[in-house]
């Protein structure tokens, strides 16, 4: 296999990794907010269920969770799981990352001084308006560095999809490496991951600068 073919093959793998990355972000960021509300709920039943959920998601390996999400439906209900590989990967990644994002959101929301809520009420804002127009914009600003951390970890975690034999960048590199008996694909894969993360870091930095409107 010549170098160009190898690059081309690895690029198709990269595309799969990027797909996992974007789908996971699209689903886990809003889901995280929902879980965050559940975690801060006044209803102790909801709060405790969400606590258990977060505890399981953070306390077990993501690779294991992927196996459970993919094979679980068969072992639990005898469901046919043929062709559901990608779906399982997206669900597995999303519910895992949502748990982390929920805690990041909570750290942001709980750091807001009570005075802001009181002031908003005095100005006639209702609860939803207070959260949407006053609290959330400030929260986003505060949590951006932590979110960047998780997003970058996600790029690298996409390689865990190899456990379900999805042909993303890392699986692809492994296979080419086995057939060609060389380590070159891993080196290239490493460069791919780094470049992708470099771009992500730059974009997040820009977002942070944009959010720093009071400085």
């Amino acid at each position: 296999m010549d170098f160009t073919t190898m690059l081309l093959q690895l690029s198709t793998g990269m595309l799969e990794s990027v797909k996992i990355f974007f789908f996971t972000l699209i689903f886990s960021l809003p889901l995280g907010l929902l879980i965050c509300f559940g975690r801060m709920s006044k209803n102790s039943l909801i709060r405790n269920i969400v606590k258990v959920y977060i505890s399981i998601m953070r306390g077990t390996p993501l690779m294991l969770q992927l196996l459970v999400v993919y094979f679980g439906p068969y072992y639990l209900w005898g469901a046919n799981i043929g062709g559901k590989r990608f779906l399982a990967i997206i669900i597995g990644f999303s519910i895992n990352y949502a748990a982390y994002y929920a805690e990041i959101y909570r750290s942001g929301i709980e750091s807001m001084p009570v005075g802001q809520y009181e002031a908003a009420r005095l100005l006639g804002y209702n609860k939803i308006q207070t959260f949407g127009r006053i609290i959330l914009p400030q929260v986003i600003k505060r949590i951006l560095p932590s979110v960047t951390n998780e997003v970058i970890t996600l790029v690298k975690d996409t390689s865990l999809a190899f456990a379900l034999a999805h042909m993303e960048l890392f699986s692809m590199a492994k296979q080419i490496s086995a057939a060609q008996t060389t380590f070159m694909p891993f080196v290239i894969a490493g460069v791919f991951y780094y470049v992708f993360n470099f771009v992500v870091a730059i974009l997040m930095e820009k977002a942070e600068k944009k959010a720093a409107y009071y400085r």
Partner: protein
């Protein structure tokens, strides 16, 4: 309150677990009946297992087993779906119906009762590969050496079973996810020898060039077959029938020659 919630969660978990046990057996019956109107064959394989299944220079999945599978599908009018799997999850993939069979240098010996097997089609011995200048030429020489093996492989089964006396003399036995890593460690001197299938060993040695030898004394003589989910004899019979046609028309021998496996084929036309 807290205790109550814990109890409820536990009950729910148990209930799920119980229903799971009940439905598992029903599924096995429904999948086998579906074989009549079969339009495709989903073959599960380890894409890191040349020359049986791997990615070729153009980036397509190929290999002796996959070309044989393609030929069987051509005869039957099925569409071949090549599904690379993680070898460690092969049982889950097969049980859950995500794949129809495992066709990828799959050793029968030691797994006779775990799958519904086709006739054996390749003779496959478990051998020891070592560096040329290592001074290892018999199994006894492996005493005090560091040996590598693929996890969940037939070679590992042999070392844990019939040849456990040999294994006990090793300084260490390291399990690798794939042979590529094992060979790199052998090259780098981290291990002294690798226990593996002879066909794969020959592919690795021929593509890596000089410096490796297969020692004459073999660990075990074994055979490859196509593994189907236990009880799925209907599909097994269909595939086997076509397989024998390929033996009769010479496709089997031609493909074996293409992949350098001529010395190891064992099926003969009736």
């Amino acid at each position: 309150m807290k205790k109550k919630i814990f109890a409820i969660t536990l009950t729910l978990a148990l209930a799920f677990g119980l229903t799971a046990c009940g439905s598992g057996t029903q599924q096995a019956e429904t999948t086998t009946t579906a074989a009549a109107e079969r339009t495709q064959l989903v073959v599960g394989f380890d894409a890191e297992y040349p020359p049986y299944g791997y990615m070729d220079d153009k980036g397509e999945y190929t290999g002796f087993d996959l070309e044989m599978a393609q030929a069987v599908c051509d005869l039957r009018g099925w569409e071949l779906v090549k599904t690379p799997i993680d070898w460690a999850s092969k049982d889950m993939e097969l049980d859950s119906g995500a794949i129809d069979c495992i066709w990828n240098g799959f050793t029968i010996n030691g797994r006779e009762d775990d799958y519904t097997w086709s006739v054996p089609y390749i003779d496959n011995s478990q051998v020891i590969v070592t560096a040329k200048d290592s001074g290892i030429s018999t199994l006894a020489d492996l005493k005090g050496k560091n040996v590598g093996v693929q996890s969940a492989s037939a070679a590992l089964n042999v070392l844990n079973g019939d040849q456990s006396a040999v294994k006990d003399t090793f300084a260490s036995l390291t399990e690798y996810g794939d042979y590529n890593t094992a060979f790199t460690e052998l090259q780098a001197g981290a291990i002294d020898a690798i226990a593996m299938d002879i066909g794969v060993a020959q592919y690795q040695i021929s593509s890596r060039g000089e410096g490796y030898v297969i020692i004459d004394e073999i660990l075990a003589a074994e055979q490859y077959g196509i593994g189907f989910k236990l009880g799925n004899t209907e599909l097994k019979d269909q595939v086997e029938e076509s397989l024998m046609q390929l033996v009769a028309n010479g496709t089997y021998a031609t493909l074996a020659e293409k992949y350098g496996l001529t010395d190891y084929i064992i099926l003969e036309a009736e």
